[in-house]
Amino acid sequence: MEIKLINLIKKGAEAEIWYGEWFGLEAVFKIRKSKPWRNPLLDNKIRLQRTLREFKIIYECIEAGIDVPYIFDLDLEKFTIIMEYVKGQILKDLFYNWDSKILELCKNIGRIIGQIHNISITHGDVTLSNIILRENKSICLLDFGLAEFSNRIEDKGIDLLIFLRSLESSFSKIAKVCFEEFIKGYSEIASDCLKVIEKMEEIKKRGRYIAERRKVPVYF
């Protein structure tokens, strides 16, 4: 057998990530399984759309020289993308042990997000679980499952905000300094960084029951 699924690495919300072999190479299989909670008609449509879009976006990133997993093959009947197995450490695990290098890492992540935004791609799920530090110290961005071809300031702002929320939800004590470094790196690279940051501040206030959004304080 040239293609072999060996073990389940991660069962994400959207897809299963399998480790396996592809013609003698170590490979990752991203399989968008059917979701029992989704109506079957909606289910197939969403799976096909997302598999195709993810493939195209990863391809564009590779073209632009951004470090993402290399793609080996695409199987649309099984809603599967077969790609390189990236060796390294997931950033979320790395962050549990505080180290001054983390700030530099955050800055570099900012630069990478700036790069993808410059080629009109938004990642849609920039969390610490989706970034790997390779053994050669290059930062590899994973999981373009929610990524989009978009030049909208709104979508870019959401990328920044999701990264902030991902820091806050697991590392609330260092979130602020990390995010400041991230923004520094981002501002070096992203062409419309000021507008995006401003938008992010606006989106932050968009949830429910945000007092700041009200210009007049309510006292009774």
Partner: protein
């Protein structure tokens, strides 16, 4: 020790009495029901509350078999919610506290929904899905506060579907009526699927669904599509949150938690991620006095109180700004 809890954030005026063994001695709720195909008008709801408050309070004390002299503190939901409604409850609580010389305990309405669900379902550290007319959010407890992991960026799920229902002329209970129509639907129509990372947005979905109504598609099909899209969006963010946080239990709370379809879908989500699934009991899903009294008791036992002069209502009191000393 006894606490009287008062809920008055939106359409419900509720009063409950709880003892320090966390047993509910009374839970009386009076709900303002708007005219057919109309939403809650804050002023009308506030008038309903001020008219019904004395009766509800007296009834709760009667059922509990206690008098004001037996009560130690009054817990009041100061927000978030509709200003005029909050003010009715807060004014009553202030007067009672001053006249009978009781302590006042401020309670955040959203935290109360979470705590009552945790208590009644007996779950220690769940991922919380709180869906109602005012909230749609996913939360977990980290470092002393409930953090928001994902939420709606515009209107709440319950609000969205109620709004759609009223536009097509359906009355109270709107969500149930839409779901009943959806059960008769046969096909899925094209609608926007807006999941933004952990967040969802429902207003575009409603606009698109109303457009389909105008274009003359079968109403049952539109309802089915709307329900499928809206719930699938929420389920997806919930599954992602479960996968990310690794929590082993999922709890559903808030008024919209009563939806059988949503319960079934979220049960499947939990199963996919090997988590247990719990739903707040039906009578404690919607707004109620009991959850305020219960959360008030937790808070009071940990020394949380407020001076009457400081007891402003807070219509925009986000749950992630509240310290939780009891966890």
């Amino acid at each position: 020790m006894l606490i009287l809890g008062i809920e008055s954030t939106a359409h419900t005026f509720g009063v409950s009495v709880i003892n320090d063994k966390f047993q509910f001695l009374a839970n009386v709720n009076s709900v303002y029901i708007p005219p057919k195909a109309k939403g809650i008008h804050p002023r009308e709801a506030a008038i309903h509350h001020s008219e019904n408050a004395p009766k509800v309070i007296k009834e709760a004390l009667n059922i509990a078999g206690v008098e004001f002299s037996d009560i130690d503190a009054i817990a009041i939901s100061l927000g978030p919610g509709l200003g005029p409604c909050l003010r009715v409850g807060a004014t009553i609580a202030r007067i009672l506290c001053l006249y009978y010389k009781k302590d006042m305990v401020p309670v955040n309405h959203a935290i109360a929904h979470i705590e009552i669900a945790r208590y009644l379902c007996n779950v220690e550290d769940p991922l919380v899905v709180y869906v109602a007319g005012g909230h749609t959010l996913i939360s977990t407890f980290i470092d002393g506060r409930y953090r928001i992991f994902g939420e709606t960026q515009d209107i709440a799920l319950g609000n969205a579907i109620d709004f759609f229902a009223r536009k097509i002329g359906l009355g109270y209970p709107e969500l149930v009526n839409v779901e009943n129509l959806a059960l008769k639907g046969e096909r899925i129509l094209e609608l926007p699927f807006s999941v933004k990372g952990q967040d969802t947005a429902f207003s575009g979905l409603i606009t698109a669904a109303l457009k389909l109504v105008k274009q003359g598609y079968k109403i049952e099909d539109i309802c089915l599509s709307l329900i499928e899209y809206a719930y699938s969006m929420l389920c997806e963010t919930v599954e992602r949150a479960l996968a990310y946080t690794g929590k082993k239990s999922l709890i559903l709370t808030g008024g919209t938690a009563r939806s059988k379809i949503l319960q079934e879908k979220l049960a499947l989500v939990a199963k996919e991620q090997n988590a247990s699934f719990h739903v707040v009991p039906k009578e404690y899903a919607g707004d109620n006095g009991a959850m305020i009294a219960y959360t008030g008791m937790l808070a009071y036992k940990h020394g949380v109180k407020i001076e009457v002069k400081d007891s402003y209502v807070k219509p925009f009191w986000r749950l992630d700004t509240v310290d939780i000393p009891w966890r």
